[in-house]
């Protein structure tokens, strides 16, 4: 008699998601399916559009991280036109991108992932959200998070033209620059951001690392997977969000491949299943062996944790010190415990803030030389950046007028579709066993497996996030509902 548990919809995923858990006769988990029910068709309808519109069109793939698509599209469009933007343009783009990272990572940590730790996974449901965090740590936190978001979006608007869906990147550079006064303002905001990042790490250190139970939870097997890890690195193999080469390390931490944007298709392939609209990327040279861990399986992960695993360090001093502490605490590289992603995310937040100050302090940022007119005939190009949720690849082919004939996109969270499915499956199997009553804390722990990946959405600083609605309906083989459990469902 097969029992079936449906969790629908998952919230805090861009679009929607659904989980089906099937139990066998003994009451153990037979299989789980994590389905994505949406497809909008960007790869089709962008064909026929002029390539300079892609930084604008692909913004609308995701309104939380449009900056990531904007930059990947800008770089791909540059590659299509074989043009190298002036240094000022690159500095400005990366500066916008660093400020965006601060905003985005902060939103996720405080509103989504953080509450599980700051409050604890067993804390009363009503407290496991940003409000609980504020009550426990202090009112100033809410104010700081709002300020971090404000500053971040101010930078995006200053350089990108708008707070949501930036509009200033064109082939060859940007449509505008910034003034010296604006540059100075950016330095000051950046310094505040560095302090904010350190404040956030301190919270994590005091409340999470200072708590034995949490540390055990982080190190526990239920959330551990040994897969390949992917991230972009600069010439010194330090994490870089905006530019560099994509490096993949194996489950033992050894470099497996390091590739340039244009060679992505030799390294990544996407597996198809008929029960979902999203595909499962895997390392081509290892091959798709199913939803399993290990060196022989091509499943890989692209998250803040992966980026730290795939790199040799951080490019800025404060972040690098935290990087060393991270690996010392967790027993060396690579770290496989997926909950540690929350910590890795804060280290990236610090790096992004330091990088923000670094870039804003470069006087060339305020130069009026922000655009080079392309002169070559457009053909084909690939642009890659690190979206907060993973490596983002845009590949365009155009005709001689620069009108698109082919588009291929591998989006951040997509990289993680297989590992997320595996994490959900493992958590479900560990928690639902013969004779176990499916209970509320169990639901939250399945949530935690999912949430560590920050699946493409950050949300309100205010309205009770971190309380994912879960309703578990258990049916017998005749389809009669025999049990119902809910959390946060009124």
């Amino acid at each position: 008699m097969t029992q079936r548990i449906t969790i629908d919809p998952i919230t805090r995923l861009e679009g929607h998601g659904k989980i089906e858990i099937f139990l066998n006769d003994e009451g153990d988990v037979a299989n789980t399916y994590f389905q994505i029910p949406e497809l909008r068709g960007f790869e089709r309808f962008c064909v026929g559009r002029p390539v300079e519109e892609m930084p604008l069109l692909t913004n609308r793939i995701c309104g939380v991280c449009p900056e990531a698509h904007h930059m990947a599209a800008a770089k791909a469009a540059d590659a299509v036109y074989h043009v190298d933007p002036p240094r000022t343009a690159k500095l400005l783009r990366e500066l916008l991108y660093s400020a965006f990272y601060v905003t985005d990572h902060a939103t996720h940590f405080y509103a989504l992932g953080g509450p599980d730790f700051v409050m604890g996974p067993d804390a009363p449901v009503a407290e496991r959200n940003i409000l609980g965090v504020i009550h426990k740590v202090g009112l100033e936190i809410g104010g700081k998070v709002i300020q971090a978001r404000k500053y971040g979006h101010t930078v995006v608007e200053m350089i990108g033209g708008r707070k949501v869906h930036p509009c200033t990147s064109i082939p060859g550079g940007l449509t505008k620059g910034i003034s010296e006064d604006q540059r100075k303002e950016l330095v000051e905001m950046g310094k505040w951001a560095v302090e904010f990042a350190q404040f956030s790490l301190k919270i994590f250190n005091d409340i999470v690392l200072g708590n034995k139970t949490y540390v055990e939870l982080i190190l526990g097997d239920i959330y551990t997977h040994k897969t390949y890890y992917m991230g972009t690195v600069d010439s010194k193999n330090h994490v870089n969000f905006y530019d560099g080469k994509v490096r993949v390390v194996d489950p033992e931490g050894k470099e497996f491949v390091k590739y340039e944007a244009k060679d992505y298709a030799e390294n990544i392939a996407e597996h198809v299943e008929p029960w979902t609209y999203l595909k499962f990327p895997y390392i081509k040279k290892v091959g798709w062996k199913g939803f399993t861990d290990g060196k022989d399986s091509g499943v890989y992960c692209a998250t803040p944790l992966s980026r730290l695993n795939a790199a040799d360090g951080m490019a800025t001093p404060l972040a690098h010190a935290e990087y060393d502490k991270f690996y010392k605490t967790l027993g060396g590289k690579p770290v496989h415990q997926r909950l540690a992603t929350h910590w890795a995310r804060l280290i990236e937040l610090l790096y992004a803030a330091e990088r923000w100050v670094e870039l804003a302090s470069d006087p060339e940022v305020a130069s009026p030389n922000f655009h080079t007119v392309p002169t070559e005939t457009p053909t084909e190009g690939v642009g890659i950046v690190e979206a907060p949720r993973g490596t983002l690849t845009h590949h365009y082919t155009t005709d001689e007028r620069g009108v698109l004939t082919k588009v291929n996109l591998i989006v951040g969270t997509t990289n993680n579709y297989a590992p997320i499915s595996m994490s959900i499956d493992k958590a479900a199997r560990s928690l639902i066993k013969k004779g176990t009553v499916v209970s509320e804390p169990m639901l939250n722990m399945v949530e935690m497996a999912f949430r560590a990946y920050d699946p493409c959405f950050g949300c309100a600083t205010h309205s009770l996030p971190g309380q994912m609605p879960l309703e578990v309906l258990i049916y017998d083989a005749e389809g009669n509902q025999i049990r119902e459990l809910k959390q946060f469902v009124e």
Binding site: R149, W275, C459, P469, E490
Partner: protein
Amino acid sequence: MSDKPKFAMYWAASCGGCEIAVLNIHEKILDVDANFDVVFWPVAMDAKYKDVEAMEDGSILLTLFNGGIRNDENAHIAKLLRRKSKLLVAFGSCANEGCIPGLANLSPVEDIVNTAFHTISTDNPNGIHPQISYKMPEGEIRIPTILPRLKTLDQVVDVDYYMPGCPPESHQIAAVIDLVVQVLQGKAELPPKGAVIGAGNSTVCDECQRKRNVKTINSFNRIFGQAIDPELCLLEQGIPCNGIATRSGCNARCPTAGAQCIGCYGPAEGVVDYGARLISGFASVINSKDPKEIDTILDGIPDPTGQFYRFNLAGSLLKAGAPAWKKNGG
């Protein structure tokens, strides 16, 4: 149980930008919390579809609905929320006019699925396509059906107000919240049903600071192809800027930043078909009387369909491209 009026926000086929725009009102979100009981907002809190179904009809005072109607689940929830809400607002360009995902209406759905499942990096030798119902060893699992064409909210249900923008600018959202709070306190009246709220009555040109002269276009230019004069009207420089037919309300942010208006605020007041208006406007300012010369000038716009219907295809008179009509249904 709260006495405050109920508020809901839902995302159909959307990108999440409207949600972020709402969050970017920063401290003003507290006004929402102070004046409303948020009963359904999948991105932010706990309620599920079942809970909405259990609510009394008309019991939600205000629902902001963003995202286009792309599949049958979106359509179902749109109808559900229409029943349960007193005031339903089409929030953002997707719900108003289809927005960027509406461009999918240029192709039949099977083309969209084909393309996605046969890209250069997709490993699909057996040509597997997603099935709305699939039998696994353990049981049948389902995903929603993609509708033949993406629809706007008012092509599916009756809409009370329209708030355009991709996304609506945060200062406009804040202004609308202020208005609603005032209405709740009896200090103001709701606008007439069917009104456009949170936007202006004119065009983007009205808010744009660039210098304007009589327009005589001798060529249309790609924005990256030359240095741009930062003070002169973009259209006069031959850059195809849609501001001339696009509704005001955004403070002309894109032209201010040096980029052409791409039309995300939708048609200006009184415009029935946005693309047709743009065709009319652009054609009017071309400086030529010779058909061949006109053709050469028009070659400067390599993608007129996208240029004129970028955000508005699903909401236009024609609603979709011929291939989509011919292949789907019927």
